[in-house]
């Protein structure tokens, strides 16, 4: 098995280099290494594959504050949810948007214009100074999205948030006349129909955009003439959780654990609210406070990385290289250690409190992905980052855990003052 594994890996490195982040198209179905069931030839980690997974909350999918989640609707470690978008005040002029990326690393709903169909024309354009408001939103992959801000009623599971400012991703708005909005992802190429941002903030910009017209994010446009604009908090693209009729102070993402070689059927629940019902109690969970920038601390390789965060929209863990991690030969940035290697890091609140060791594994991305014929959930994919201050706990962290996001400015939390993460 070992030699077979080795030769397969060597022979497939080049082929897999194009599909490392999306294994659809792999032609490995004829060999015995089936996605999700293969065993590794290399040494097993000494501390197990998920040494400190947490006890799941008792959840029924029919609960009013619960929505089902799947993983891999578009690509590996793509956390997917559905939401219904309606014209404000309407219960019939609606469209259900599937394959939304559920993202604890952003704030607010963003949907590609094409995915909204005819409903898009019934959404209410938000104005500032009687002029249409749009935004250029930036992401950590160096891309931007551009489009107008509109009001919609957003239904997540059985709960509705009314007249929520959301973003329609549409490069035709204002003829995209803003110069500093390059590296765009306006085309629907991301593998999803949009992004549902449910992170620790209530708005996507906050006080900076209230006070400064040169915020670089918000613009008012007349025809193709756009200029930077201040925007009141109430008009900024808003985390829809905060505007739900109930269960609106935070969320819990609870995903099943997956095996060392991944799972094509991983999933779980988005539970709305924290300490608002029997199914979302925070009893026994560890609280990690978050600073003004939405970050907490992670000690990794003896370095305190004070700008760390938990991000379900990141398809891997992102951290600096330590021995024995090595990069994949394809230049993708993923780690390819050749087997499963066990690591640990220490999470702390932004004040340094509640130090908690988190064990995790890093496996060989090319080997893992090469075994799968469809997008898969992996708890051991990691990507090199040269940052000395950021540890990004991406989706691999979520498997086998219930991850709490307490939203800034909300109330009713037993664990402590929001914003925070807990698990």
């Amino acid at each position: 098995m070992k030699s077979l594994t080795r030769s397969l890996r060597l022979g497939l490195h080049l082929i897999l280099s194009v599909i490392v982040a999306n294994c659809s198209g792999s032609s490995l179905s004829s060999n015995s290494l089936t996605c999700g069931t293969a065993s590794f030839s290399g040494p097993k980690p000494s501390n197990g594959s998920a040494a400190n997974i947490t006890t799941p909350l008792s959840v029924n999918g029919s609960d009013v504050n619960v929505t089902a989640l799947t993983v891999g609707c578009g690509y590996n470690n793509d956390l997917c949810v559905s939401a219904k978008v309606c014209a404000p005040g309407s219960t019939t002029n609606c469209v259900t948007i599937n394959n939304l990326l559920l993202d604890t690393g952003s704030y607010g709903l963003r949907v590609f214009s094409a995915a909204l169909g005819s409903v898009v024309s019934s959404l209410t354009q938000v104005q500032v100074s009687s002029t249409n408001l749009g935004e250029c939103v930036a992401y950590a992959d160096g891309t931007h999205q551009w489009g107008p801000v509109k009001l919609a009623d957003i239904q997540i599971g059985s709960l509705t948030a009314s007249s929520v400012p959301m973003m329609v991703i549409d490069p035709s708005f204002g003829k995209r006349s803003v110069t500093n909005c390059s590296g765009t992802m306006d085309a629907q190429s991301g593998g999803y129909n949009g992004i549902l941002g449910i992170g620790v903030e209530a708005q996507d910009c906050g006080s900076t955009c209230v006070g400064s017209a040169a915020n670089g994010e918000y613009y008012i446009c007349t025809g193709s003439s756009c200029s930077g604009s201040t925007v009141p908090l109430a008009s900024q693209v808003t985390n829809p959780v905060t505007m739900l009729s109930a269960h609106n102070n935070g969320t819990i993402v609870q995903l099943t654990n997956v095996s060392d070689t991944g799972s094509s059927s991983a999933g779980g629940y988005l539970i709305l609210g924290i300490d608002t019902a029997a199914n979302n109690t925070s009893t026994g969970r560890t609280y990690f406070s978050v600073d003004t920038n939405g970050n907490f601390q992670t000690v990794w390789n003896s370095t305190t990385m004070s700008k760390s965060f938990i991000d379900s929209g990141s398809n891997a863990l992102f951290m600096s290289t330590v021995s024995p991690l090595t990069l994949c030969v394809d230049g993708s940035g993923f780690y390819c250690p050749g087997n499963i290697d066990a690591f640990s890091a220490t999470m702390k609140g932004s004040s340094g409190a509640n130090a908690t060791t988190v064990n995790f594994n890093v496996s060989d991305a090319l080997f893992l992905v090469g075994q799968c014929s469809a997008p898969t959930a992996f708890n051991n994919l990691a990507v090199h980052s040269s940052s000395t201050t950021v540890f990004d706990w991406g989706l691999p962290f979520f498997f086998g855990r219930s991850v709490y996001t307490g939203i800034r400015g909300t109330s009713g939390h037993s664990l402590g003052t929001p914003p925070y993460w807990a698990f």
Partner: protein
């Protein structure tokens, strides 16, 4: 003055010379054209110029030859990379576009023949580092620049 600093960070680069890889005079032009104020601190092997605005903090690192060998940004909105990278931008843009084809890691490291760029962070707190390895002073690790 606060507003002027913001404008410098976000928009001023449109009319200014690029910074990365350019000499001290080029950076002076950038600062003057944008009417920006900078805080400057010496770190032995290099000098740090810090431009702070509401939207982002931009740091420029100058080597003993007067060349800007690295830039680091942090804030709500990244600076205009086309203006910041100058002659490096075309190769960066090509490598970046290639890396974006299909699903890709959410945080990207882009490498060209003479530029390394690390994008990082999350909404409301994006950060990045770009440097030309050939211009980094001996004994300095770009990733550890303050």
């Amino acid at each position: 003055m606060r507003l002027i600093l913001i404008l410098a960070c976000l928009f001023g680069g449109v009319h200014a010379a690029a910074v990365l890889g350019q000499n001290r005079a080029s950076m002076d032009t950038y600062v003057r054209t944008n009417n920006a104020q900078r805080a400057t601190t010496a770190h032995g092997a290099y000098t740090v110029h810090t431009l702070v605005s509401d939207a982002c903090t931009l740091k420029e690192y100058e080597n003993p030859d007067g060349k800007i060998f690295a830039v680091r940004w942090e804030g709500i909105t990244p600076p205009n990379l086309q203006n910041l990278f100058g002659d490096y931008y075309t190769a960066y843009d090509k490598a970046h576009s290639a890396a974006l084809k299909g699903p890709h890691p959410r945080q990207l490291q882009i490498k060209t023949d003479n530029l390394i760029v690390q994008h990082s962070g999350h909404m409301r707190h994006l950060s990045g580092l770009a440097y030309d390895p050939a211009l980094v002073p001996a004994g300095v690790v770009a990733e550890e620049l303050p």
